[in-house]
């Protein structure tokens, strides 16, 4: 058995990883079931033909919102807990024996932060295009909400996301057995010492997080403001056509599509993609836009390998003629060669 240099750091990082796997199972399932329900209700998988489903399918929409917030790593849901633990484990590794690794670790943490923020971007796109805005097709008005058992399937996963986010101390105590078996240390003792309300994986001075207090304060100030506004002013509300800077002829086609929402990413990270664009001229009466986005690595690594395999297969194909007489000839020739080799 190998010895672990810094068992408590290893336990922290391993807890973060295991916690994230658990979280991922919950919110990914929830999002898959949500998109499945959308597919079932609309028989449509193309983002460009969906939209406005929150009003047609409120159960699926609100459950998917929980999944979206959780997978963007937003507090107080579960995705944030594992992100927080992961960032903490990056920050605590400073006592490592190697200076180089010491310097690399915080920069990698910056990369993790970038990826987490990008996940938020993607999730806003996913949710906004499918569930918000106006329906892009007329037949979406017939979309039906999830049935009773579908709701159960969505709800228990959504509840799992919320509970895993609100009660991290209890979950970490459960994970403790695994980390003890693998690296010989765990966080349960320190976590238990600080009580069930406050999560402090190493010590209170270093870092602490309490999702329940967090949620309580945000919810309390939210409700207080709501009540104060109603009491001091009024709650009058009028519904009208969207304002949109006074533009009257608004159609659902003017909303951002998934491609449009992702356009800044394509622009900023252009060197990382292999992109072909065909843009129409400004005076084109029937404009056609075409963008093909591909991965560089596909052409740098996979296509050459595939071509090599194909060429080798073609060479072998020359031998494979499919006539029994040819195969008998091969066997005979092989036999002769081997006999000659044995004789020599």
């Amino acid at each position: 058995m190998k010895t672990v240099v810094c068992p408590i750091f290893a336990a922290l990082a391993l807890t973060a990883a295991l916690y994230h796997c658990l979280n991922h199972a919950f919110f990914k399932c929830l999002l898959f079931l949500g998109t499945g329900a959308v597919l079932h209700a609309t028989s449509e998988r193309n983002l460009g033909r969906l939209g406005g489903l929150l009003r047609r399918m409120p159960w699926v929409g609100w459950a998917a919102l929980v999944g979206v917030l959780a997978s963007s790593g937003l507090p107080p849901l579960n995705g944030f807990v594992s992100e927080w633990l992961l960032l903490q484990s990056f920050l605590f590794t400073l006592g490592l024996p190697s200076t180089f690794v010491n310097m690399l670790v915080p920069v990698v943490a910056g990369g993790v932060a970038l990826v987490a923020a990008l996940a938020g971007y993607t999730m806003v796109k996913f949710y906004g295009v499918i569930f918000l805005g106006q329906p892009r097709e007329e037949r979406l008005a017939q979309a039906h909400d999830a049935g009773a058992w579908e709701r159960v399937g969505l709800l228990w996963l959504a509840c799992g996301c919320v509970l895993l986010g609100l009660l991290p101390a209890q979950v970490i105590v459960l994970i403790d057995n695994v980390t003890h078996a693998l690296v010989g240390a765990g966080l349960a003792a320190t976590v238990r010492a600080n009580g069930w309300l406050l999560l402090a994986p190493v010590s209170l001075e270093r870092a602490s997080y309490s999702p329940l207090i967090f949620l309580f304060v945000v919810a309390a100030s939210l409700l207080l403001v709501y009540a104060m506004v109603r009491r001091l002013y009024h709650g009058r509300l009028r519904r009208a056509a969207p304002w949109d800077c006074g533009f009257p002829r608004l159609t659902p086609r003017m909303q951002d599509t998934a491609e449009g929402f992702g356009q800044p990413i394509r622009q900023v990270f252009e060197p990382f993609f292999r992109m072909q664009r065909e843009l129409p001229s400004a005076f084109d009466a029937m404009p056609r836009y075409r963008v093909v986005v591909q991965d560089h690595f596909w052409f740098w690594i996979y296509t050459p390998i595939a071509r090599l395999v194909e060429n080798v297969a073609r060479l072998i194909g020359l031998l494979q003629r499919g006539r029994i007489a040819t195969y008998l000839l091969y066997s005979f020739a092989t036999l002769l060669l081997m006999l000659l080799w044995v004789r020599r």
């Binding site: 406005g52 929150l54 963007s72 937003l74 507090p75 944030f80 927080w84 960032l87 920050l91 915080p106 920069v107 943490a109 910056g110 932060a113 970038l114 923020a117 938020g120 971007y121 806003v124 949710y127 906004g128 918000l132 805005g133 106006q134 600080n194 009580g195 309300l197 406050l198 001075e205 270093r206 870092a207 602490s208 997080y209 207090i213 967090f214 304060v217 945000v218 100030s221 709501y226 506004v229 002013y233 009024h234 009058r236 509300l237 009028r238 519904r239 009208a240 056509a241 969207p242 304002w243 949109d244 800077c245 608004l250 659902p252 909303q255 951002d256 929402f261 800044p264 990413i265 900023v268």
Partner: protein
């Protein structure tokens, strides 16, 4: 937690929330006034933001016919997030019971919650402007968030904690010395907060011109009390960011635990610091021009690199 629940802690916590919620529009008014002076315009009254809020709260809220509950809930959620953000930043005292509930990483998460909700709210009506604003806001946000975390990492490394209160106690308790790492981080933080608060080189808070706006495009459909709450939350965000900057880079004068009388000193010190910071912000906004949206990634990548340099300086030189 038990030790933190004392009366002076509770008092300073409540005082801080009250100061932030009630005083944040004043900071916005002060920045606007300074900017008008610097640009040779006649300045709006200092209390104009309060009057605007009062006017908006009195007005009837008009929302689109197909707006969902998410659209109506967004202003309250954003306001709640910003109130908690102001509560955990040690602006007056480091003796804050709520500070143990959310450390600096959770604070970054809190800003992200507000951003995601406001972007979803913008998506909800399905207008071209709203989605355009949401798209740009998410772009700026996702580039600013890692830079902000790297700035915070530098201070975590110096003070050995991710709790803002502990960081400030640690930094304020040292003898006066110049930390090169903090200087780099400070410049990076200024750049990030300009972007996050929709200030001039990145966005223009004073314009309703479609092509230049990010934040204003997202909130175009809000009116009445919803708009008032969003405007108020925006000034709370500016207040919170200013207080984070002051706490990390100019932590002197903040009251410590066990010395509640220091609050009487901390309050005027904070007001002076905020007034100077607001004037500096107005100066930056006057001296710089708004840049194209696709120059913003370069600007924020610059902030990220500065923050990384700050951290490497700390790790290499130990300073």
């Amino acid at each position: 937690m038990g030790a933190a629940l004392n009366w002076s802690g509770l008092l300073s916590q409540l005082l801080e929330i009250a100061l932030a919620v009630l005083g944040a529009p004043l900071l916005t008014g002060w920045v606007n006034q300074c900017r008008a002076w610097l640009q040779n315009k006649s300045a709006p009254p200092l209390l104009l933001p309060y009057r605007t809020l009062h006017k908006l709260f009195n007005k009837e809220a008009v929302i689109a016919t197909h707006a969902s509950p998410l659209f109506r809930a967004t202003p309250y959620v954003v306001f709640g997030c910003m109130a908690l953000a102001c509560a955990i930043v040690p602006s007056l005292s480091t003796d804050l019971p709520l500070a143990s509930a959310a450390d600096a990483i959770a604070l970054v998460g809190l800003f992200a919650v507000a951003r995601v909700f406001i972007a979803l709210g913008a998506f909800d009506i399905g207008t071209a402007f709203g989605t355009l604003g949401a798209r740009r806001e998410m772009l700026v946000g996702f580039l600013a968030e890692p830079a902000l975390l790297m700035v915070l990492f530098t201070s975590f490394l110096i003070s050995g904690s991710t709790s803002l209160a502990t960081i400030v106690e640690n930094l304020a308790g040292r003898e006066l010395a110049i930390y090169p790492a903090l200087a780099f981080a400070g410049v990076a933080f200024t750049m990030v907060s300009l972007a996050e608060n929709a200030r001039v080189p990145v966005d223009n808070p004073a314009t309703h011109l479609e092509l230049t706006m990010i934040h204003e495009a997202m909130i175009l459909e809000y009116s009445g009390r919803h708009l008032a709450l969003i405007e108020w939350a925006a000034s709370l965000k500016l207040f919170a960011y200013s207080c984070i900057g002051l706490a990390l880079f100019f932590p002197w004068g903040v009251a410590r635990a066990g010395a509640p009388l220091d609050l009487f000193l901390a309050l005027p010190v904070l007001i002076v610091k905020l007034a100077l910071g607001g004037a500096l912000l107005a100066l930056i906004e006057t001296a710089s021009a708004k840049m194209r949206i696709f120059r913003v990634p370069e600007f924020l990548a610059g902030a990220f690199l500065l923050a990384v340099i700050g951290m490497l300086v700390h790790l290499l030189l130990g300073a």
